[in-house]
Structure formats: structure tokens, C-alpha cells
């Protein structure tokens, strides 16, 4: 008997082992057919977490998205500069002020670049910043709530591309204009007076070290050229900022041809510590400027927009020693400082070489006045005097450079569609991999910091074509993940992305995950129309406005019967989600609403404005599947003619008509 049992156990074990071995030999996923163990390198098993949060710009969707690395899974789209009907951002009464500008309400923008906050040059996991390229603005996202909590407009800017790059201790983010424009009292000038009237402005935006609030500390008045990208110095170059420029030809038409005339444009080196000294010495001038500053108040769950009227400006043509130009071949795009802060990599996007400048040499050239002349009153350092060396013939169309933790650089090449790995010191090319297709930005986790996390590089490609199942003329965007832990880069994953990602950053999950907020505490909710319990719900008439203070909890809305609204009234549904439980949002929508739904997080209050255009009965309901009785979470609002005498009343669970038996 005993032997029999042992035999049975053994045979079960043999079968199990065989199954395990057989499973082990099976291809792990279709992707593994292409490159050996690629699938396992990008695989995150069900229920397991990714190693990195990947914070990705949405480009023309105006949003920021959160992916996991290495899986490439999309976790969330955070609405920033564009309305998002999915959760009511920019539609709800509380969020509308966040999209206010000096041009009024602007419902869309183009978010290009991400900066994560840093302390001593390393990620600190507090905030993410993004830029609006169209109507110049910067935004701050709180990494505890993954919510846009501040948007600051930038006056005297034509298009905020060169932004929101950040200094070593998050002292400043910058904003350089891509389109120089006339500024000041008279901006109604002929376009052909570009050289005389058009100016570029660079804003230095200070970040409050404790709560993050942004303020335009000062603006530098710079020549009318285009500012493209930028990076702060770090370590020895802390206190400096480097900007790439193009159109130093100052062309104002057919830039495709006319802004590519010169062999070299400039990298602009800014000594911002010197600018601070000038400001302390009272050299700044206050200038009139109209711009919006929008701040989210988490206690009232409401954005407040304030129109500002002045900025502090410095003129570097008069105040010498703030800025210097360094010639850089052919319309430089990327301008990236390496983790040591010694090397600045320019990428002439139309050139077939990468110049690498040395901070030490730049300093020596400035000290020795090793200049080749001036441009618009600003000294131009001799190219050779600032140059550490050139990476010769690395590929075609270098755009951006990121760094790993081993002294290597990774440059994206749009024209030749590849990533090239090279050694920063020796300038030797070490490896190259194709991307599919036409890479724009690339991102190494921690790549712009003093301590890159390394491990991966993500290619954000501009052309998708045949990479995925086609979906008509409009395709998803294509990203590729490469393992860079070895000597050779290895493609391990293709993943589609939403919007049109430009830059992205990645940060280790453990720096963000423990701080992620689960609910808003209802007792801390100071919204003027909050109902902290069903007993506090009400419907009030204020002239032509009807304010409904409503609550939502599994599985009813209070009140769910509302009468006495008249044609011509505007109804404000102030919905408080009474849940204090993780991941139980309630949504709210009403028939015929000309805006969106609202999605209300636990403990939050959010308001949907509704102006009925006809009389009758209009249903409303919860849009987020919240419980087994979600489908029952609904109500009715009655709209009567303008002159009607139907009294205002509201209720939940009250059965008025005892006679018919309905509802009993």
C-alpha cells in the first residue's frame, strides 16, 4: 500500500515536471520569434508590477500618459491642456478655470516635453511638468494624485517649445519661444520688419521648493530667433542653462529653405546665477504683460484662475555676462547635458555629425574672450574653443541624446531612423539599431539626471506605417523598447502609444507608488456645494440658476427626483462622491448635456452645468460601473415651461403616488 502511494506521488511529480519542461520550451509570445528572449525581458506577469513609471507627453492630444516599463502597458491619460470628456476635465465648472488664458478659454494644446522634478540632480518623484507649444503655457502635475494642479501662461512668447526643462534642484523650469514675435505696446507691425521688431523671450519659472507653485521669476530678452530645446547644467555646470536655436537667419517665410542657409546656428549658454545677481542688484525692469496663472485647490477641488499683469525682464545685450552663443552645425535640435555636467551634446538635425561641447572649455573661452564676434550684441564663442570633439558620421539627422549610467550616450536619428550608442568621452561609436520608423525623441530612465537608472531606451517614432494591424489612414503611434543592459542594444518590445509622444521620462516605481493617493477625505472637502451626507443635499434656486447639491453612493443619487426647473434655467449639478473606498468613482451624465460627463473620485465634488433646451423629463445616471446595482443608479429631472408654477422640489425614495402602485 505504502509503495503504491509513493509510486503514485512519483508519477504525478514526473507528469508535473514534464508539463513544466514542455511549457518552458514553448515560445513565450509571438514576439519571441524575432529576437531570442526578447519577450521574457519585456514580460510582466499578470498581477505583477512594472519596474518604471513611464511619463509620456501626448503631443497633439495635449495630455500626458502614464505607461509601465518594460511592459508598455498604458495606465492612465492625465488631461493637462486639452479638454477630456472622459472625466470632464475642462468641462466641469471646477476645471474650466485651469484652461483659462489671456486669450480666454483655450480647450486644446500640444504638449511636447516632460520634466520630472529633481533634487541634487536626481529624481525626487514629486512633480511632472509639461509644456504647451501652441498657446504658451507650462503645467505641473502632482505625482501623488496624477492630476494637473497648476497651469501658468507665458507672456511675450510665440510658441513654447523649448520647455519645461529643469535645473538641478528644481529651482527653475524654462520656457523658450519657438516663434519670435513682436512684443510690447505696438505689435501691429509688418511681418517684414522681423529683424527690427521680433524678439525671442526666455522665461525662467521658479518652483516653490515646498509646495511646487510656479512663478515667472524673470524673462531674458533675446534676439528674434527660434529656440528649440534646452537642458540645464548640472554638477560643475549647475547655474548654467543651454538652449539650441535655429533660424538665426531670421527668416519669416518658407523657413524650410530660408532657415537652413547658414552652416551653423547657435547653442545659447545662459548663466542664470549671473541673471539672479543682476536682479538682486535691481537691474531688472518690470514690464506690462497679461497672462493667466491657474492653480488647483485640492481642498475645494476647484481651479482658480488669476490674470497677472507684469513680468520682470533682463536685457542680456546690455547686461553682459548672462548669455553667450556657441556655433553649432545646421539647425541644432537636441541640446543635452551628460550626467557629469561637463559635456553638452548638440544635434544639428540636418547635419551628419554630433558636436560635443565641453563646459570647462566654454568657461575658458569666456575667460579668454575667445570670441569670433557678436550676434545681436551677444558674444559668439569660437566653435573650436568650445568643442570637446565631434562624433563623425554617426548617422543622418541627429535629434536627441540621452545617457546611461556607464558613460554612454544614445542619440536618435530621424533621417536614418536609428539609435546610435557612443561613448561620451572618446566619441567612439559603439552600436546602432534601427527603429520602426523615423524616431523622434528617445528616453532612458533617468536619462537627463545626474544618476541615470539605465537599463532601457525607448524610441518614440514618428512613422508607424506597417508596424501594427492597419486602421485606415489614421494610425497609432509606434514606440519601441530596447534593453541596453549589455554592450549591444536589443529590441524587446513594440508598443502603440496614444496622441503623438514627443519626450518622455521614466522613474522607478518605488519612488511614486507608495505616495499614490487612494481617496480624497470627505471631511477635508471644502467645496462650497459639497454635501457631506445625504441629509445635506439640496436644490436651491438663485434667479435663473438652479443649484443641485447631490450625492452619489452605491447605488443611488440623492436627490434622484427633481422638479420645478423651468425653461431658460441653468442647472448646476454639484455631485459629491460620498464613497471613501479606493477605486469607486461615480460618474454623472444628463440627457442633452452640451458638454461632457463628469467622473467624481471618492470624497470629491464636481459640477456639471446643464441648460435644458426643451421641456419634459430628462434622465440622469451614474456613468461609472460602480456596483451590482449600478444600472439602477439613475434619476429624473423635470423641466417645465418658463412661466409654469411647478414648485421646486426634490427627493430620493419618496413615493408620492400611493394610488397607482408604481414603485411599491
Amino acid at each position: 500500500m505504502k509503495t503504491h502511494t509513493i509510486h503514485r506521488v512519483l508519477s504525478v511529480l514526473v507528469v508535473l515536471t514534464t508539463v513544466v519542461l514542455w511549457q518552458g520550451c514553448k515560445p513565450k509570445a509571438p514576439g519571441s520569434v524575432t529576437t531570442g528572449d526578447a519577450a521574457s525581458l519585456a514580460y510582466v506577469p499578470p498581477g505583477k508590477y512594472d519596474e518604471f513609471y513611464n511619463v509620456v507627453s501626448g503631443g497633439f492630444n495635449g495630455q500626458m500618459s502614464i505607461y509601465g516599463l518594460p511592459s508598455g502597458r498604458l495606465f492612465r491619460i492625465i488631461p493637462v491642456f486639452s479638454q477630456f470628456p472622459e472625466n470632464g476635465w475642462g468641462y466641469s465648472e471646477e476645471t474650466k478655470p485651469m484652461l483659462n488664458t489671456s486669450h480666454g478659454f483655450v480647450p486644446w494644446d500640444d504638449l511636447h516635453h516632460i520634466s520630472l522634478s529633481v533634487t541634487k540632480g536626481e529624481h525626487d518623484g514629486r512633480w511632472a511638468f509639461g509644456n504647451a507649444n501652441n498657446t504658451p503655457r507650462v503645467a505641473r502635475i502632482d505625482m501623488k494624485t496624477f492630476k494637473t494642479v497648476e497651469i501658468l501662461e507665458l507672456p511675450n512668447s510665440g510658441g513654447n517649445h523649448s520647455s519645461p526643462f529643469i535645473t538641478e534642484n528644481s529651482e527653475y523650469i524654462v520656457a523658450g519661444t519657438r516663434f519670435s514675435v513682436p512684443v510690447g505696446e505696438n505689435t501691429d507691425v509688418p511681418i517684414s520688419t522681423f529683424k527690427e521688431n521680433f524678439k525671442g523671450y526666455i522665461s525662467f519659472i521658479s518652483i516653490d521648493p515646498s509646495h511646487g507653485e510656479m512663478k515667472i521669476a524673470f524673462q531674458l530678452k533675446t534676439p528674434g530667433i527660434s529656440f528649440d530645446l534646452a537642458r540645464a547644467g548640472k554638477g560643475p555646470s549647475h547655474g548654467w542653462f543651454f538652449f539650441s536655436t535655429y533660424n538665426t537667419e531670421q527668416a519669416y517665410t518658407l523657413l524650410e529653405v530660408n532657415a537652413s542657409q547658414k552652416d551653423k546656428d547657435f547653442i545659447m549658454a545662459v548663466n542664470w546665477k549671473k541673471a539672479e545677481e543682476y536682479i538682486k542688484a535691481g537691474k531688472g525692469t518690470k514690464s506690462k504683460a497679461k497672462y493667466a496663472h491657474n492653480v488647483w485647490d485640492e481642498s475645494t477641488h476647484t481651479g482658480v484662475s488669476t490674470i497677472m499683469d507684469e513680468v520682470l525682464q533682463l536685457d542680456p545685450a546690455e547686461l553682459k555676462d548672462i548669455i553667450y552663443f556657441i556655433p553649432c552645425p545646421k539647425s541644432p535640435h537636441g541640446c543635452d547635458t551628460d550626467p557629469t555636467g561637463e559635456y553638452i551634446v548638440g544635434s544639428g538635425k540636418l547635419a551628419a555629425l554630433i558636436p560635443v561641447f565641453s563646459f570647462t572649455k566654454i568657461q575658458a573661452a569666456i575667460a579668454n574672450k575667445d570670441f569670433e564676434g557678436e550676434f545681436a550684441g551677444i558674444p559668439v564663442i569660437k566653435y573650436e574653443a568650445a568643442l570637446h570633439g565631434e562624433v563623425k558620421k554617426p548617422g543622418l539627422g541627429p535629434l536627441h541624446t540621452e545617457f546611461d549610467n556607464k558613460g554612454n550616450a544614445y542619440t536618435s536619428f530621424f533621417v536614418s531612423s536609428e539609435i546610435v550608442k557612443w561613448n561620451v568621452k572618446t566619441l567612439e561609436i559603439l552600436d546602432r539599431v534601427p527603429t520602426y520608423y523615423s524616431i523622434g525623441h528617445l528616453s532612458v530612465p533617468g536619462g537627463p539626471t545626474t544618476k541615470p537608472h539605465g537599463k532601457y531606451v525607448v524610441a518614440y517614432n514618428k512613422i508607424t506605417k506597417d508596424r501594427y494591424l492597419p486602421t485606415g489612414p489614421e494610425l497609432t503611434q509606434s514606440a519601441q523598447l530596447y534593453d541596453i543592459s549589455g554592450d549591444k542594444m536589443k529590441l524587446i518590445l513594440d508598443f502603440p502609444t496614444t496622441g503623438e509622444p514627443h519626450y518622455a521620462e521614466s522613474i522607478p516605481a518605488e519612488m511614486i507608488m507608495p505616495n499614490s493617493v487612494k481617496i480624497y477625505k470627505i471631511e477635508d472637502n471644502n467645496h462650497p456645494y459639497v454635501s457631506k451626507g445625504e441629509g445635506m443635499t439640496k436644490v436651491e434656486r438663485k434667479g435663473k440658476e438652479v443649484h443641485v447639491s447631490m450625492t452619489a453612493i452605491r447605488s443611488h443619487l440623492t436627490p434622484d427626483n427633481i422638479e420645478g426647473v423651468k425653461l431658460g434655467d441653468e442647472v448646476f449639478f454639484h455631485v459629491t462622491n460620498l464613497e471613501q473606498d479606493w477605486d469607486v468613482p461615480h460618474g454623472f451624465a444628463v440627457k442633452g448635456a452640451n458638454n461632457a460627463e463628469i467622473l467624481v473620485m471618492p470624497g470629491e465634488t464636481s459640477t456639471l452645468r446643464w441648460k435644458p433646451l426643451s421641456t419634459g423629463i430628462f434622465p440622469f445616471y451614474c456613468t461609472d460601473f460602480c456596483s451590482a446595482l449600478h444600472q439602477e443608479m439613475q434619476g429624473y429631472i423635470r423641466v417645465s415651461p418658463a412661466g409654469s408654477n411647478v414648485p421646486l422640489k426634490f427627493s430620493t425614495g419618496k413615493i408620492e403616488d400611493q394610488a397607482s402602485g408604481a414603485g411599491q
Binding site: 524575432t34 529576437t35 518658407l254 524650410e256 529653405v257 537652413s260 552652416d263 552645425p329 545646421k330 540636418l350 547635419a351 551628419a352 555629425l353 558620421k393 543622418l396 539627422g397 530621424f414 533621417v415 536614418s416 531612423s417 534601427p434 520602426y436 520608423y437 523615423s438 514618428k462 512613422i463 506605417k465 506597417d466 508596424r467 529590441l491
Partner: protein, 183 residues
């Protein structure tokens, strides 16, 4: 000039019904996770500069050189490019053995430099060309365009025809452009 345009139109038409130009070139690359953009199967879109060259009966040498220099994929990308495309006759004017020598693997860098001297990143349409206009080519050397009585020359080479491609413009020329000697 007109004659050339006609040939090109026929070539384009013939090509659009044909198969992909670079499929053989890229056959070896299929072990990699994917070939470059030249391998995208697309017979609907307007041909790119590579497909224009491949479709032309007068550019077999140029196409062979592009393949040897591994520039087929780069020139299939978004560009935009202005390509000066010497005809087979233009290559034939070079001293005997020059082309055979250039397409050898050990001379790839020299060949790439010469080909890069024929490519400008940017689409310079005929009507943008001004007499004396300089273009800084991919290899970082300049070519000079001249325009006299509507006739365009590049470094003295005659433009025989101009073909618009999806990702740029091809100027057919009657001489190979040689980059200036470096001091």
C-alpha cells in the same frame, strides 16, 4: 528635358504596378526584427525618391551604389530630400573601374561620402532655386545651383529632368558630383 520627364512618367507608372524595389536588398535583413521603411508593402502611395530611382531605366548604377552604401532605407524615410541623381551615362563618364572600385565593401565610406554629396535634407522645388544658391549637403559640403534662362545646373552638371517624389524631389543630372578635396 521633356523627353526625360516622359520616360520618368512611364517608369513611375510601370513601377507602381510592379513589386517593391528593395525587397531583394532587404531579404538578408529579415532575420532582424523588421526591415526598414523600404520594405513597407505599399503600392498605393506616391513613390519615394528610392522608388523613383529604382523605377527609372537610366539609374541602375545609382541604385546599385545606394544599395552598396546601405542608403536605401534612409532615403525611404520621411525626409524630405532633394536628390541629385546622376544617370548611368553620367557614371559611365567616370574613369574606367571607378564605380566597380567604389561599390567594394572596403570603400563604403568613400562611396557614402559621394552619395551624401548628392543629397540635401529639404525639398528644394525648381521654383525655389535661385542662381548661385548653395546647398549644404548631407556630407556637409556645399553644392552650387545655377539658374540661367530657366535651365538649372548643379556644380555645372545639367539638370535633365525633375521628378517629384512622395518624400522629396529628384533632379536627374548628367554628371556625378564629386565632393571637394579636404585640405
Amino acid at each position: 528635358m521633356k523627353h526625360y520627364k516622359f520616360i520618368f512618367l512611364i517608369a513611375l507608372f510601370a513601377f507602381s504596378c510592379g513589386q517593391q524595389p528593395a525587397s531583394t536588398e532587404n531579404a538578408a535583413a529579415t532575420e532582424a526584427p523588421g526591415a526598414g521603411q523600404s520594405a513597407v508593402k505599399d503600392d498605393t502611395s506616391e513613390p519615394d525618391v528610392v522608388r523613383v530611382a529604382v523605377g527609372s531605366p537610366d539609374h541602375t548604377t545609382l541604385v546599385a551604389a545606394l544599395k552598396a552604401a546601405e542608403y536605401v532605407d534612409a532615403l525611404s524615410n520621411a525626409g524630405p530630400f532633394t536628390v541629385f541623381a546622376p544617370t548611368d551615362a553620367a557614371f559611365a563618364k567616370l574613369p574606367a573601374g571607378t564605380v566597380e572600385n567604389l561599390v567594394k565593401p572596403e570603400n563604403k565610406a568613400t562611396l557614402q561620402n559621394i552619395l551624401e554629396y548628392h543629397v540635401y535634407v529639404g525639398a528644394i522645388r525648381e521654383d525655389y532655386v535661385q542662381d548661385g544658391m548653395k546647398l549644404n549637403q548631407v556630407n556637409l559640403d556645399n553644392v552650387t545651383l545655377n539658374k540661367k534662362d530657366g535651365k538649372i545646373t548643379v556644380n555645372g552638371a545639367n539638370v535633365l529632368g525633375v521628378v517629384k517624389a512622395s518624400n522629396g524631389i529628384v533632379y536627374v543630372i548628367d554628371a556625378v558630383l564629386l565632393p571637394p578635396d579636404k585640405k
